[in-house]
């Protein structure tokens, strides 16, 4: 006879998720694998000749790159000799300055870093993250996509997302050849919602750089690195090619970060029997060694893998923390859908939401889940009020603001009209008034009239062939009377000349003042220090539109 209790439990969403036991030999273990290398370093004549138990002659490309670029030799022997638990306690202790921890971290090997962090439970990791996050003020990033690559909808959703507080917005494509139109749409839309929001379009590496060079995008993030040489090669790059690419971005004044995450090596079948966290730590050292300012990590699109094994969500927080300890900007994932359970997806996010990271989600879907072209997100537009109310409940800044219907409708409409004008100026297929109206009030692509996709794609290719650039967007917007948007797009282009936003964890406020780890460094040093949610920020977050004023009753 079946237990009624178990019958009910078996139908719970959490039991539709997949779970597996650890399998050490295949790397199906989140962290603390008995097969992970033991920390060691040997330096001869100013050169690392042994790293984590491996001699230089046995190094693969990743070992060599890390040994040559990612570890400061100066304090290496001192730090490697320190007790890992003692270092862990220093990180946890508020009065040991962040700068001292960052200094120690510079001289650790990957295995030492993993050993230190493995001492922590998740509450300790959150406390450490609160202190180690690079930028003092936390932020959030949105995904802006839809199944039809509808440009008007992208513009409207980007505008709403910007109004709601996202500091960065990322689009990608359902159909690759739509890319230029998606990039234009998110750019125009974002500036209609809030000037200064940074936008990107996730594509194949070389194409993504080309769009950046032409002023279609302001930054890039989909530059993946991996923790084993075989997977790196399968990803069609090497640490040198990726570092070269990073410099190419900087040479055009474009912000960029790398992407990595636990589970990617297991997913690609070549984990060399190491734990997910150890391999991810190698990715973070490659990022550091390449001189890239930041990383998108936290398993990202491989979240199903660590989430399936014990301590997997703890490992995801650990990888975010290691990024912060290495003084990298951390866009901490909380993106791809991994669970049917609302409880589980919320618990996973609290790890980054409570302490705050540079970007808590990377990103949060600004559309219904069915429109998210990054295979769904852990959070979507239909969760906007849940997010803002959890912020209010916990008095935590999760990077979003409550918004009124009127304000949202207004910016969506402005974005759609501006894009309508710009499309006309650029000679792109017309955006009808009906589409503007639909985008203004839409929830998702099911609310949008269909477009002629063949014509759009043809026009997108033609646009690229004609050599259209960001300057043409400025002109087109101004000609149609959207001078404020023209000015914002121009301001974004001008940032590429100044280079201030190439620094770690850089974002802009609505006046294009840069906010980064250089001029807004995290100064957490215990109770009453660091970022506190108070003053104007708290007024904004606590005033949700649906709260009743008791005095009115």
């Amino acid at each position: 006879m079946r237990s009624k209790r178990f019958e009910v439990l078996s139908k719970r969403p959490v039991n539709q998720d997949g779970y597996v036991k650890e399998w050490v030999e295949e790397g199906f273990i989140a962290m603390e694998s008995p097969q992970d290398p033991k920390p060691s370093i040997r330096i001869e004549n100013g050169r690392i000749v042994e790293l984590d138990g491996k001699r230089r002659e046995d190094f693969d490309l990743i070992d060599t790159f890390i040994a040559n670029y990612a570890i400061r030799l100066e304090r290496a022997e001192e730090v490697m000799a320190m007790d890992s638990r003692k270092i862990a306690n220093m990180i946890l202790t508020p009065t040991v300055p962040r700068s001292e921890i960052a200094s120690l971290a510079k001289s650790m090997t990957p295995a030492k870093m993993v050993e230190v962090v493995s001492n922590f439970n998740v509450v300790e990791m959150m406390q450490c993250m609160q202190k180690m996050r690079a930028r003092r003020t936390m932020a959030n990033q949105a995904h802006v996509t839809n199944v039809n690559d509808n440009p008007v909808q992208i513009a409207a959703d980007a505008a709403e997302g910007a109004l709601r507080g996202f500091a960065e917005e990322e689009t990608t494509v359902a159909v690759a050849r739509y890319a230029p139109l998606n990039a234009i749409s998110i750019l125009v839309g974002s500036q209609a919602g809030r000037p200064g929001v940074l936008t990107q379009c996730s594509l194949e590496e070389a194409t993504e750089l080309e769009l950046g060079m032409r002023g279609f995008t302001a930054y890039a993030e989909t530059i993946s690195v991996y923790g084993t040489e075989d997977v790196f090669t399968d990803g069609d790059d090497t640490p040198w090619s990726k570092a070269f690419l990073a410099s190419a971005y900087a040479s055009r004044g474009l912000k960029m970060r790398f992407t990595s995450g636990t589970g990617s090596e297991v997913q690609m079948g070549q984990a060399e029997g190491k734990s997910m966290l150890y391999l991810e730590t190698r990715c973070l050292y490659i990022t550091k060694g390449a001189g890239v300012q930041g990383i998108q990590n936290g398993s990202v699109s491989c979240i199903g893998i660590p989430a399936a094994v014990p301590s997997g969500i703890r490992a995801v927080l650990a990888e975010n923390l290691i990024a912060a300890m290495l003084d990298l900007e951390c866009a901490s994932s909380n993106d791809q859908t991994f669970s049917h359970s609302d409880l589980r997806r919320t618990a996973r996010t609290l790890m980054q939401f409570c302490p705050g990271t540079d970007f808590i989600c990377s990103g949060y879907s600004s559309t219904p889940n069915y429109d998210n072209m990054f295979a769904g997100s852990n959070w979507d537009a239909e969760d906007y009020d849940d997010w803002t109310i959890i912020q209010r409940d916990l008095k935590v800044n999760g990077g979003l603001k409550p918004a009124t219907e009127d304000a949202v409708v207004a910016v969506r409409n402005k974005a759609a009209r501006a894009l309508q004008g710009l499309f006309a100026e650029l000679g792109l297929p017309a955006i009808t008034d009906e589409e503007v109206e639909a985008a203004t009030y839409a929830n998702g692509s099911k609310d949008m009239p269909p477009r002629d996709k063949v014509a759009d794609i043809k026009a997108a290719a033609d646009l690229m062939n004609r050599g259209v650039t960001g300057i043409d967007f400025v002109k087109g917007l101004a000609k149609r009377g959207f001078n404020d948007l023209a000015q914002s797009v121009l301001n974004l282009l001008k940032q590429k000349i100044a280079g201030d936003y190439l620094q770690t964890s850089a974002i802009f406020d609505d006046k294009f003042n840069v906010i980064s780890a250089i001029n807004n460094p995290n100064d957490y040093a215990g109770v009453g220090t660091g970022y506190r949610l108070e003053g104007e920020d708290w007024e904004v977050i606590k005033n949700i539109p649906n709260a009743i004023d008791p005095r009115d009753i």
């Binding site: 100013g46 200094s103 570092a243 055009r252 390449a290 000015q487």
Partner: protein, 171 residues
């Protein structure tokens, strides 16, 4: 990073400062001052707009009116090697040495056209190039663009690709 590497980068950066003639002259052309930027100079756009040159204009000259009257093109919207160098110094002053190295490569790459730069990146991907092709690319970087740091970086890649069988034909 290894001390050899660091010493080499230091040397090149110092040479850039001094405006030493070839092979780094392409990068050093307009660096006349000896200043070393620090975090106090950040953000440059606000604290030192005079450091930023857009052709023979300043950043403030890049207005909407100037764009509308056709005085500004996308080619003008380019970061200079001097600003990249200054941002690198700021990053280093903030404790982030590797970022300075990245920006020093980037400063050199400002001389390389978009198309060629994309080709070079693709050539560095696994199994794309023979060792000779990579070494020729390094020579091109050094001789045609004065990109000494990038050239060394590509040579190092070539050595390691050979060891780890990532050259053309190895797959």
């Amino acid at each position: 990073m290894s001390q050899d590497m660091e010493a080499m980068i230091r040397k090149i950066l110092e040479d850039m400062q001094k405006g030493t003639p070839s092979p780094v002259s392409a990068v050093a052309q307009s660096s006349t001052t000896e200043r070393v930027a620090t975090v106090a100079d950040y953000p440059i756009a606000k604290k030192h707009p005079e450091w930023i040159k857009v052709g023979n204009r300043s950043l403030d000259d890049i207005t909407l009116d100037a764009v509308m009257s056709g005085q500004v093109s996308m080619d003008d919207m380019r970061i200079s090697p001097e600003i990249l160098k200054a941002q690198g110094q700021i990053a280093k002053a903030g404790g982030r040495d590797q970022i300075e190295y990245n920006f020093s490569r980037a400063a050199e790459m400002t001389k390389v056209g978009d198309k060629r730069l994309l080709e070079m990146y693709n050539a560095l991907r696994p199994y794309r190039s023979s060792k000779q092709e990579l070494l020729a690319m390094a020579d091109e970087l050094e001789k045609e663009y004065g990109a000494v740091i990038c050239a060394e970086f590509v040579r190092e890649a070539a050595e390691n690709y050979e060891k780890r069988k990532k050259l053309k034909g190895d797959n």
